[in-house]
């Protein structure tokens, strides 16, 4: 009987490995947060529903951030009603570069990035050019609720295009790289950088094929990079190696992210930032349901970090102390001890 159980066990193990399927116990050991656990133990526990509209609407977020003194890209204009589309021409006329996004869009849907003008036409980040009519149709779609949850009518927000910090030029195919920081109860716990690829159409969206680079919370150095959940070492378009990547203004980035907790009161928050050449780190948007891919980019489960913070006796520390705590405990150097506990 014993040999049979042993044989069965090794057979199951082999089959799983051959199909690259992990066992639940192995994932648990590595502290990987599952989607169900994220929803139940973190989002529904720490993100009260009444606060969600604050981050679901980018316009509200932006105004809230401006009020709180948190740096955000400049707001150029807002199109609220279909009849306002007539004003669009006037708003866009003087602009060379701009971004149009739905205020309630999710997952980067419906974001239009215009990087230049070609006489009458507007040039997208990918080099494709659009007529004014195509843009006003996009705006009309946004207002109609094409990109919002449940198809509710929406608002189109026009804001200034970020001038990407040139230090990431070699790491990104067009588009602006953005930095995602998970902030748990005010503590930055995990971070990654998202770099656009040709495949992702210049958008820093992992789902669409952007590269995710895990970042060391202590230093802002790269840890590991993945595309479509699989490890890569160089950028698929530029061929640049990620291992030398370091994010400047790292301390500022962590402080800005941590400040979003005071701003929104959301306990489990994904903060998306960009580095502007002239303005430094800016908050792009907030996400009350940040995805799990950050764990893959970091090569680490997030759960031990969340549990460490939950076990703290005192949470209402000043921003600087929270950032210092995170840098001290979640840096690569100290992580291995956390893994073991």
């Amino acid at each position: 009987m014993g040999w049979f159980v042993g044989w069965l066990n090794s057979f199951v193990q082999n089959t799983l490995t051959k199909n690259s399927i992990a066992t639940p116990s192995r994932l648990k050991e590595s502290g990987i947060l599952s989607m169900n656990s994220r929803n139940l133990n973190y989002i529904s526990r720490y993100n009260p529903r009444r606060l969600l509209p604050l981050v679901d609407d980018k316009l509200t977020t932006k105004r809230m951030a401006e009020k709180a003194g948190v740096d955000v890209p400049k707001l150029i204009g807002v199109i609220e009603y279909q009849s306002d589309i007539r004003k669009l021409k006037g708003i866009l006329e003087p602009l060379e570069k701009f971004v149009i996004k739905p205020a309630k869009g999710s997952g980067g849907k419906g974001i239009l990035v215009i990087t230049g003008r070609d006489s009458d036409r507007y040039v997208k980040a990918s080099g494709e050019s659009l007529s004014f009519n195509a843009i006003s149709r996009d705006v009309s779609n946004i207002l109609g609720g094409l990109y919002s949850l449940g198809g509710k009518s929406d608002i189109a927000v026009i804001e200034s295009l970020i001038v990407a910090d040139p230090i990431f030029k070699d790491y990104s195919f067009e588009g602006v790289p953005d930095i995602r920081v998970i902030v748990f109860r005010g503590f930055p716990v995990m971070a990654m950088m998202r770099l656009a690829t040709r495949k992702s159409d210049g958008k820093a969206n992992l789902h669409q094929g952007a590269v995710g680079v895990g970042l060391d919370i202590a230093t802002g150095n790269s840890l590991r990079s993945v595309q479509h959940d699989l490890p890569v070492s160089t950028h698929p378009d530029t061929g640049h190696n990620f291992s030398t990547l370091n994010v400047p203004h790292w301390h500022k980035i962590l402080s800005l992210s941590a400040a979003c907790y005071e701003m929104t009161n959301l306990g489990y928050l994904g903060v998306d930032l960009v580095l502007d050449k002239n303005l430094g780190p800016l908050i792009l948007e907030l996400n009350a349901r940040p995805g799990l891919a950050i764990q893959i980019a970091n090569g680490q489960g997030i759960k031990p970090r969340l549990q460490l913070i939950e076990s703290l006796r005192k949470h209402d520390l000043p921003i600087e102390e929270r950032v210092a705590f995170s840098q001290q405990h979640f840096g690569v150097a100290t992580l291995s001890t956390l893994q073991r506990t």
Partner: protein, 519 residues
């Protein structure tokens, strides 16, 4: 922690209550758990008709009683304009219809449903009443006396006495005395009455009973007179025409005693006719009526108390939780992406009408044609709501075109296209086309395939006869389902697809570990 305990308790109570009620209904009330048992139920209708004289009218009809080997399931009266009373007339139930004013032909109905159930014997007080031996006019009295003497010699007990005597009258060549007495029948005395009188003269308790032979599809069936003889402990039935003793197969006793079957006041030409049909009824329905009779409260407050039409609607509605559970399982435990959370359930319900393969073909072709037409629309500058409206109209047009075309081609399956919910289809097309524009066709196939897979799984479960039987007969099981859903809502483990998604992550963690240990 407290909330968790409360929820756990709730889940346990729901699951146990659902299963417990189901088992109770199965074991105590006799609902079949699986399969469709069939039983025969006889439906006997008495049709009373008479011609009213334009004044108050009253008709009273003898009603059947509980009797051995027969279970009366249900009775009903139909008689517009009449008030109905049930009376008890010397141990015999009677229905009394009455009205203030009636004119012309009147039709009154009484319907009784019954099932032959050998072995049941209701405890009714059925002792013979005292009687006085009648005296017949001469020369019949003399003939009777000598016949009775003859029969007494040849019999041992009341039963054999009755049998022998009836045989005397039914013999091919009746003897002299019997022949003489048959003269009374020719004069208008009914044979059963004569036989009962003779038995009384022999000091044997006897009576006339009336009943019906249960045969399927009989209309205008006459009521049959029989004779019952008391043997000291119980009544024995005799057929006066054959002299056979014992209860004939499928004989339903309607009336005991010689009192009239039907009395009508305020009317003429009264008549009562009987029609009989047998129905094959699932045992469930039978259990139902029996439980209603026994006053099981569980049945009284259930779906079965609703009109039949509503019950049929519920048959489908009660299947929805099964589809919902499938969707939840595929989402929470497997982690499959579908377009629209419960859209697969709606598709599965459409599949119930169309069957699986035609349903899949219709759905895929509808959505494909819709996507193609939608791509034209997306080139136009349109408001979203208007475009959605346009897609709905286009979907309807495609449906109509598919129906007409398939009808001409003789493919009748495609006519079921009308069962697909149009608005859902239009939304699906809209969502898919956006997905196509944003994420490319790969995601469309992934999401569409996921939806169809979940819909197919729900359909296979929902169309399963056992599942249908269980959900409809035991709606209590929904409590159990609710418990399971609450339990699933607490599941924080990994989804099956996450096991694959996070594999590279564990893999690298492993290599990091091995590097550490090498150091």
């Amino acid at each position: 922690m407290k909330g968790r305990f409360q929820l756990g308790l709730m889940v346990a109570v729901l699951i146990v209550a659902g299963l417990g009620l189901t088992l109770y209904k199965h074991f105590a009330l006799g609902f079949p758990l699986l399969g469709k048992d069939i039983s025969t139920v006889w439906s006997v209708e008495a049709w009373v008709s008479f011609k009213a004289q334009g004044e108050a009218a009253q008709a009273s009809l003898t009603l059947p009683d509980q009797q051995s080997d027969v279970r009366i399931l249900d009775e009903s009266f139909a008689s517009p304009g009449y008030g109905i009373n049930q009376t008890n007339d010397g141990g015999q139930r009677r229905a009394v219809w009455s009205t203030r004013k009636a004119d012309g032909r009147q039709d009154l109905f009484y319907k009784v449903k019954l099932r032959l159930e050998p072995g049941i014997s209701p405890s009714v007080n059925d002792q013979p009443e005292p009687f006085i031996a009648p005296v017949l006019p001469e020369p019949y009295q003399t003939a009777a006396t000598s016949l009775l003497n003859q029969v007494t010699d040849r019999s041992a007990d009341p039963v054999s006495f009755a049998g022998t005597m009836i045989n005397q009258f039914n013999a091919k060549e009746p003897d002299q005395n019997a022949n003489m007495l048959l003269g009374m029948v020719e004069e208008g005395v009914r044979l059963p009455d004569l036989l009962v009188n003779l038995l009384h003269m022999g000091n044997i308790p006897a009576r006339i009973v009336r009943g019906l032979h249960l045969e399927d599809g009989r209309r205008r069936q006459p009521i049959v007179d029989m004779i019952e003889v008391y043997d000291g402990t119980q009544w024995q039935l005799f057929d006066p025409k054959t002299g056979k003793a014992g209860n004939p197969d499928a004989f339903f006793l309607w009336q005991r005693g010689a009192k009239s079957l039907l009395d009508v006041m305020g009317g003429v030409n009264s008549d009562v006719k009987f029609s009989i049909i047998s129905q094959n009824v699932p045992t469930r329905e039978l259990a139902l009526t029996q439980a209603t009779q026994d006053g099981a409260a569980l049945i009284d407050f259930s779906i079965y108390s609703l009109p039949l039409e509503v019950q049929n609607a519920f048959k489908i509605i009660l299947l929805i939780p099964i589809g919902v559970l499938t969707v939840l399982f595929m989402r929470i435990v497997v982690g499959l992406r579908t377009s629209g959370t419960f859209m697969p359930v709606l598709i599965a319900m459409a599949f119930l009408q169309t069957q699986l393969i035609p349903g899949l073909v219709i759905f895929i072709s509808l959505v494909s044609i819709g996507l193609w037409i939608r791509s034209f629309l997306s080139q136009q500058n349109m408001l979203l709501v208007a475009r959605l409206g346009a897609v709905i109209i286009v979907v309807i047009l495609i449906m109509a075109a598919m129906s007409i075309l398939s009808w001409k081609l003789g493919i009748t399956q495609a006519l079921t296209v009308t069962f697909f919910p149009m608005i859902i289809l239009a939304w699906t097309i809209e969502r898919m086309s956006i997905l196509w524009e944003e994420e490319g066709p790969k995601d469309v196939f992934k999401e569409g395939g996921g939806s169809l897979l979940v819909a197919t799984m729900s359909y296979l479960l929902m169309s399963n006869p056992i599942v249908e039987q269980l959900t409809f007969n035991f709606p209590e099981l929904m409590l159990t389902l609710l418990g399971i859903v609450l339990l699933l809502g607490q599941y924080t483990g990994y989804r099956l697809l996450e096991l694959k998604r996070f594999y590279p992550l564990v893999h690298s963690v492993d290599s990091v570990h091995s590097v550490h240990s090498e150091k």
